[in-house]
Symmetry: C2
Subunit: 423 residues, 2 copies
């Protein structure tokens, strides 16, 4: 066993440049929603070279679309497939799903980036670009872990089921499709950017869209209209209060160090068409966090109550009620006991590689783990090398050293979890 | 003279259906910016039928674009000409410009309209549609006034210079082009929607664009980013205070009944691309009113000082300063003495037709009058039949009766101002 570990460590040490290069070419392919194919093709080709059993399919179809956990406004999945690549075990060991998403969020204002957002530039041990941290770096850590086993000629008893899915950033339809295709396992690791922390609990979340009405008028007689922007301020302030109230109730020690355990993020506002008109409509869009201990439905009900309260207490809203829609992304919350065997194995490997004990927290954001655990009945741990703070941000980057360390921790965990077939 | 008036009144009375129909077909042509040609073609054909001397030209060229009062972000004027149509006088009388704009603002949210925004539907004496009030109704009042003179075989000594211009809603490049083409006169009437009030003073205005920076982050760890929407709230509140301060200083009795004499209208806000990202940029656009007693420059300076103050006092803005840009529309303020002869003639005709005295106020918005008076040195009065409150609003409409009454008041004013050639 020790020899296996030594071989894995050595291989990973010798192949850092290859890993960095793989991440670089992945980052250089823009894989925003609807454009996942080119990056996915690189992953597929890599898995083919490794000799994994490939399952490549375009998601969609009635079973998926009618599933209660399906939450997606995308019409067309053509040309941007899901991938599941299996390293088949010899039998008798525990199986594991290694899940990562290939889709990335848009780059925002390009002016805020010091390099081209898809440069994959490496500077001082950091690799820059959209998706470097969230989560192509995590995906590369998984692929290197699998390759280190294969290159070291180690045979496992349990199956290693690597998944490269689309749609995580928009509600998890890719992972849901994989679950419905029959992929379940005894455990799962999702290397989302956790700053090398281990997250047994995952915050759920969903998107909302609030429509605020105004009454248009010429800007020069703006007192004859009602500004949808001004009325939106009331809504924004009420959401800020709701966020405070909801977070004041969280007392789970796993959330202790998280400033806002279940945030309400207002991500978009759009109002008005003409500088000198009073805007007659405002559309607010955002993301509401859901605690691992509550349901999507109860959190939604709480926000709906707030808006109802505004509709009752404001004269304008009484006549022009606020409307809320839950659209696009929705991520189920998830929760694993801190003493689950997968937690123990991962923690042990972490200590073995890094020397210290991992920080164990609740994830401040939703992941596809909610679907894997709630729908796929697969115990999930989220643990990965990316930097939380740079996810979705300009100048997103990853510390390559962390990617290699995470890869090693995951590879050692696979040895223990799936068991080595010494025959 | 009395006989001339009787003939005019009679003709206008007999031709109301024609006037309403002309307005209807004008409203039915969408003449938003860049699409003015179809509506303008109707006006051109009408003026041709009346036998007026036509000057039809596409604006542009260096003299216009380099003029200090030129303020326009439109690149292409091709296919959407200006029109000046002159009823030549026999000589010896005072000339007058009758100026109206053919462009209209966008319709906003169509759902707020009870009819199609371009229906031109007539109900209970009101004609509905974008532009009915601002200001195709005013234009029809002018055309009917001119036609009533021609149909009554009345010859004037002074020239009547009818202008149907583009670009009023975006800064007055159409009227500026007409001024630079040499059109000046001893007086001008602009029938913008004043609710039949007479405005000798005109508020100026201009557009601003403020860029607010944030720092993107994943919405689930939004405390690691800085929301451009949240930072925008500080800017909006500061602009609200600035509006209060500036209006507290206005003590001109002509503004007495206007709730906000020189408003700051926030017409547009756009921030964020993704519900679950912290938005890294917000763009605020609006219109700032300028009092007839101040300059565009001093008003701009006041807003710039406010932003500078925010940049100095807020730590985030200190490092990421707010940026302001004065773009698109700009309307010079204008001011005519209340005892100017044109004011007297118009007031007299008003009393003669309506029996009561007109309300005389300062206009709560800028018009092309600022260009006619400041650049064209032509004394301007703004007076028209439209309903201020419905301009730029959903369900914009005009009371047809007011349009006919305004037409009569203007026709009688032409008799006095330009003088009838009795020879």
């Amino acid at each position: 066993m020790e020899q296996n570990k030594v071989r894995i460590k050595q291989w990973l040490k010798d192949n850092r440049a290859r890993g960095a290069r793989l991440l670089q070419i992945l980052v250089q392919e823009d894989s925003t929603r609807g454009n996942e194919s080119a990056a996915q093709a690189i992953v597929i080709e890599k898995c083919r070279q490794l000799g994994l059993t490939l399952d490549i399919w375009e998601i969609g179809g009635d079973e998926l679309k009618k599933h209660p956990a399906f939450c997606c406004d995308r019409q067309n999945f053509e040309g941007n497939p899901n991938l599941v690549a299996v390293l088949k075990g010899s039998g008798g060991g525990k199986s594991i799903i290694l899940n990562g998403h290939i889709d990335v969020v848009p780059v925002g204002d390009e002016k805020n980036w010091k390099h081209d957002p898809y440069s994959g530039a490496i500077e001082c041990g950091k690799l820059y670009g959209r998706g470097a941290t969230d989560m192509k770096g995590g995906n590369v850590a998984l692929i290197m872990a699998i390759e280190s086993l294969i290159a070291s000629r180690i045979r496992l008893k349990g199956d290693v089921i690597f998944q490269s899915v689309i749609e995580e950033e928009s509600g998890g339809a890719g992972t849901l499709a994989a679950v419905l295709r029959g992929y379940q396992a005894d455990g799962a690791i999702i290397p989302e950017p956790t700053n090398m922390k281990i997250f047994p609990k995952q915050q759920g979340s969903m998107w909302f869209r609030i429509k605020v009405k105004g009454r248009a008028a010429h800007g020069g007689t703006r007192y004859e209209g009602v500004s949808a922007i001004e009325k939106s301020l009331l809504v924004i302030q009420r959401l800020q209060q709701l966020e405070k109230d909801r977070n004041a109730r969280i007392n789970d020690p796993l959330f202790e160090k998280i400033p806002i355990p279940i945030p309400i993020n207002l991500g978009k506002i759009k109002s008005g068409e003409w500088p000198s008109s009073v805007p007659d409509t405002a559309i607010l869009e955002g993301r509401m966090g859901v605690s691992p201990e509550e349901t999507i439905q109860s959190a939604q009900g709480e926000m709906e109550n707030c808006l109802r309260e505004l509709n009752e207490n404001d004269q304008w809203f009484k006549e022009n009620p606020l409307q809320i829609e839950w659209f696009g992304g929705r991520w189920l919350p998830g929760s694993l006991e801190s003493d689950h065997p997968l937690m123990k194995e991962l923690t042990k490997s972490f200590k073995e590689v890094r020397g210290d004990l991992p920080v164990i927290e609740a994830s401040p954001w939703g992941t596809d783990g909610g679907i894997l655990s709630n729908v796929g009945h697969t115990p999930v741990v989220v643990f990965g090398p990316g930097i939380t703070a740079t996810a979705h941000d300009a100048n997103e980057h990853i510390i390559l050293e962390d990617m290699f360390v995470a890869s090693e921790i995951i590879a050692l965990t696979l040895l223990d979890w799936c068991e080595v077939d010494e025959s």
